[in-house]
């Protein structure tokens, strides 16, 4: 019997985060205290929580009951392997982000430092509580805490109207989602009134109600994760928030929604039906394709990354769908393959997307510029950020030997097995879905080349960029940590799968660890080496050796002479920075090929223009197809309500009186 349970230690971590947050209020204007003391302490707590969860993986679940909560329903908490995987994600990602934030936040950016510290650490603590919650009430309280604290973080710089609007939109969609989640929990209690997760697990729901619960959960968690069509808040909120907050929201908070979806569909609701998987996969495919196409045409670097997050969430939904289909047909090994891909991609995305968002933060600080059209050539002044961003870019494009490739590889392997399904129609459709995944992965490469090439390479598009400076030591440390995670997840897949396999086993009953461990830590062969294998370390070592050997041989047999000169200008000497591709120019092929997917407003210059200019504005179709009609409907409806709202107190008293009489009539005992 251990003296301290892991769950207690994690609770201590949550409390410590709250305490760090409150400590910020002691001296709310003292930036030095907040940045150089409190944020590093918060980072250390994150690392400790992550390590604790890492060592917990694979142990028997622990539960706890807190004395707070409703009189009949105190907070139930539970730590199992699924929770632990996501706590590892939260802890390790937040360590890097908090360290970075210690160098990032400066005086005079919107909210006061103390308040920022409170909101930030409250956000962290509530995400931890979301993961630990074991009853619907505790879950919803933590979920709301997470939504509210992140809303305040998004609106840190609340003096700008655009940022206030982005925050409002975020809050609105978060609450629509929360209502759906609440209803889903309500359905899952099956009318028994037991709101603990254990009670929900015990319920045997009829298929209709189980499906209703799943679909509500898909809508609710989808709104938080950014599935189409409830994705619109993401590209607004991410650019509005300070970069560490964007990183935290994109890297970690979106994953809590994935956690919720996994928890409901594989744990709470009982045996899944096969068509749930088809629904999840279809929505995921649409989301992934939509996200990646829009990310290629963005001109704002943080919006580009936000749409890329939508794409990644789409891929996760595809993986969940595939796992659901296999699980429904009791093909547990294949379900485990897809599930491993999902969990792996959660970890990978948390690493590389946080890294990229933090890189945009450094660029933003160095240049005060977020628009791609005014950046360029920053690799000369910011080599650290540029090279670390390159790691994130390669991982995000899903290329070997970094983390993004491993999860994509696992997902494609899972797709390759789908013809074994006992359903002929699915047999045909599912491999074709793999074609869409392949297209999405290739387009992600396009978006990432645009991101890195336009920001860091080429000539500087604005003269004031020469004053750009590299990231400071704190920022650099945070970036290096996240880049380290990205590389580690890329080159040690077998070890990582062995660790997260406990969660797969918990959800599905089987895992991949046994098969993967057979071939040692260097080789990843989830089924057998004859079927498929991947050895990232050999891969990396071969490329590194070839690069070094090639360099040495060239110098040995020839020479290493080099001289500098002007770039070749093709005889036309006005080769200024304006001759390069702009962000709009780079994505012109995509806009042309996928024209119907975008809503564009373009202005072309004519020969007679005194001051010719070209502009293009790409908008989301969903605004015009879905959101504006709904908004108009709501407005029309509230117009009707205004008629009974005359503003005279006597009339309102009459309403109360009538309601009372009505209630007495209806609600007679």
């Amino acid at each position: 019997m251990p003296i301290l349970y892991s769950i207690d230690l994690l609770l201590v971590a949550a409390c410590a985060w709250l305490a760090v947050g409150l400590a910020g209020l002691v001296a709310p204007r003292n930036m030095h205290l907040v940045a150089k003391v409190l944020f590093p302490v918060g980072a250390a707590i994150g690392l400790a929580a992550g390590l604790e969860a890492l060592f917990f993986l694979g142990e028997a679940p622990e539960t706890a009951v807190l004395v707070i909560g409703l009189p009949t329903l105190p907070f139930h908490l539970r730590l199992d392997s699924l929770t632990a995987v996501f706590v590892v994600l939260l802890g390790f990602a937040s360590f890097g982000i908090s360290i970075y934030a210690a160098g990032y936040f400066r005086q005079g950016e919107g909210a006061s430092p103390g308040l920022l510290c409170l909101e930030y650490h409250f956000f962290l603590a509530s995400m931890l509580m979301v993961l630990l919650a074991d009853d619907a009430y505790a879950f919803m309280v933590a979920w709301e805490g997470m939504a509210l604290s992140s809303f305040f973080l998004v609106t840190t710089d609340h003096r700008h109207e655009a940022i206030r609007r982005a925050g409002y939109l975020y809050l609105l969609i978060a609450h629509v989602g929360a209502i759906a989640i609440l209803l889903s929990f309500g359905v899952m209690t099956g009318g028994a009134g037991d709101y603990t997760f254990a009670g929900m697990r015990a319920q045997e729901l009829p298929p209709f109600w189980a499906s209703a619960a799943f679909l509500l959960a898909l809508v609710g968690f989808g709104a938080k994760a950014g599935l189409v069509p409830v994705h619109v808040w993401l590209p607004e909120a991410h650019p509005a928030a300070p970069s560490p907050v964007s990183a935290m929201m994109s890297g970690v908070m979106l994953k809590t929604a994935i956690y919720g979806l996994l928890r409901v569909s594989f744990d709470l609701v009982g045996t899944p039906l096969w068509w749930w998987g088809v629904v999840a996969m279809a929505i995921g495919l649409v989301t992934a394709l939509f996200g990646v196409l829009y990310s290629t045409v963005q001109s704002d670097m943080k919006r580009l990354l936000a749409y890329s997050s939508i794409e990644n969430i789409g891929l996760l939904a595809v993986g969940i769908g595939l796992a659901l289909i296999f699980h429904a047909y009791r093909m547990e090994t294949l379900a485990a393959l897809a599930m491993t891909a999902v969990l792996y991609h959660c970890l990978a995305h948390a690493g590389f997307k946080s890294l990229l968002f933090l890189c945009t933060g450094s660029v933003l600080h160095a240049t005060k510029e977020r628009s791609l059209g005014k950046l360029g050539g920053l690799i000369h002044h910011m080599p650290w950020v540029a090279w670390l961003a390159l790691l994130g870019v390669v991982a995000s494009a899903g290329l070997p030997p970094l983390s993004g490739f491993v999860s994509e590889w696992l997902l494609l392997q899972a797709f390759l097995f789908s013809p074994g399904l006992p359903h002929s129609w699915l047999n045909m459709v599912v491999p074709v879905a793999a074609a869409v995944v392949a297209l999405v992965a290739a387009l992600a490469g396009f978006a990432m080349v645009k991101f890195h090439g336009i920001i860091f390479l080429g000539q500087m598009r604005e003269p004031n960029l020469i004053h750009a400076h590299d990231a400071g030591p704190w920022e650099r440390a945070g970036l290096v940590w996240l880049a380290f995670l990205t590389v580690l997840l890329g080159v040690l897949p077998s070890t990582v799968i062995g660790l997260i396999d406990a969660a797969t086993q918990q959800l599905l009953g089987t895992g991949l660890a046994g098969k993967v461990a057979e071939h040692g830590w260097a080789m990843l062969a989830p089924i057998s080496p004859d079927r498929a294998s991947y050895m990232p370390l050999v891969f990396l070592a071969t490329i590194a050796a070839a690069v070094l050997l090639g360099r040495w041989l060239v110098r040995r047999f020839y020479h290493g002479r080099l001289r500098r000169s002007d770039a070749w200008d093709c005889g036309y000497f006005f080769q200024g920075p304006r001759a390069q591709d702009t962000a709009e120019g780079f994505s012109q092929p995509i806009r042309r090929i996928f024209e119907p997917m975008f809503r564009m407003e373009r202005h072309f210059p004519t020969v007679r223009d005194e001051q010719p200019y070209y502009s293009v504005k790409v908008e989301d179709h969903f605004w015009h197809w879905l959101y504006l009609p709904v908004a108009r409907l709501v407005e029309w409806f509230s117009g009707l309500i205004v008629r009974v709202q005359g503003g005279r107190i006597a009339v309102y008293l009459l309403y109360s009186f009538l309601t009372l009489i009505l209630l007495l009539l209806v609600a007679r005992p």
Partner: protein, 317 residues
């Protein structure tokens, strides 16, 4: 890992390094014959490489470290690709390091580096080339993956060695799915290797160029490495195509005689393949850049069709 396997692996790499420029020279010579021009010497690519390695590198003032690293990375990627693809024997110790999906990843990695390097100097041609290369890339990569999916479904494996062994051991029947996949693969290879009708390797300073636009700023040893890597890529694609669609004659594990027999066979197959490439390039015209999506979209559809044919017709047998 056996000693003979290791020697075979080294031999395959050395052979790729040595043969790749020869293949490029052969294709150029065939093209010249078919177009009734006087042909350059067969060994011209080697002279070119030697000359370029001897020359000084002339680097633009604002070239960054990425620009100087990229040629080595691209070269290393192509070398790895050649090491994985079975040209003579399927007994390759490196083969488990990367299956066909990772192979597509290797090509993707090289493409990202060359596109970024093209954008590094900040000239209009460079970024234009980088953008077009990524355009061709994101259209060709899914088609290539679908071709690989088709072969992987036939052999129940994504490991290159297993695919080749399965395909080589089947009875000689023409799978309709493989026919579709073969056509799609040919189209993808043309695009990926910057060949007519998508790009023209013989052009300099045309507004339609892709590959040449990206490497305009390279010189000396960097250019030599990139040109060599381009040859290696052509060699890798040729060997992959031969291994997937004409796998007969590739030696299997511990078959030393087969290995010796495989060398002339490979040379013969490459010669025929190179001639076919020159023929395709001669009878086709270079298409406008915005016809390329249609071309590669067709390849993608054909590959998906091959996959569907495989799932619909061939699995029931």
């Amino acid at each position: 890992m056996s000693i003979s396997g290791f020697i075979g692996q080294l031999f395959a790499i050395v052979l790729a390094l040595a043969l790749a420029p020869l293949l490029t020279g052969w294709v150029n010579q065939c093209r010249a014959w078919l177009q009734s021009r006087s042909a350059p010497p067969l060994l011209q690519p080697y002279y070119m490489l030697h000359k370029l390695f001897q020359k000084d590198v002339v680097l633009a003032h604002n070239a960054s470290s990425l620009f100087r690293t990229a040629p080595f990375v691209i070269f290393a990627c192509m070398l790895l690709a050649c090491a994985i693809i079975p040209s003579l024997s399927t007994d390759l110790p490196f083969a488990p390091a990367a299956d066909t999906l990772a192979l597509v990843g290797v090509f993707g990695l090289a493409r990202i580096f060359i596109s970024l390097a093209a954008m590094d100097i900040g000239t209009s041609f460079g970024s234009l080339g980088g953008r077009r290369e990524m355009l061709v890339g994101f259209l060709a990569e899914p088609a290539l993956l679908m071709v690989i999916f088709t072969t992987a479904m036939i052999s129940q494996s994504t490991s290159v060695a297993t695919i080749v062994e399965t395909l080589a051991h089947r009875d000689f029947i023409i799978y309709p799915s493989l026919a579709f996949a073969g056509i799609a693969f040919t189209m993808v290879s043309l695009a990926e290797n910057a060949r007519v009708p998508v790009d023209n390797p013989a052009t300099h300073l045309e507004l339609t160029m892709i590959h040449e636009a990206m490497i305009l700023e390279y010189s000396g040893r960097h250019l030599a490495l990139i040109e060599w890597a381009a040859s290696l890529k052509l060699y890798a694609y040729s060997c992959l195509g031969l291994a997937l669609f004409f796998p007969w004659g590739i030696a299997e594990k511990d078959n030393f005689l087969g290995l010796i027999g495989a060398i002339p066979l490979l040379l013969g197959k490459l010669a025929v393949g190179g001639f076919a490439l020159a023929l395709i390039e001669t009878v086709n015209a270079k298409m406008r850049i915005f016809r390329a999506p249609e071309f590669l979209g067709t390849a993608f559809l054909l590959a998906v069709l091959g996959l569907l044919v495989r799932l619909l017709l061939e699995t029931r047998v």
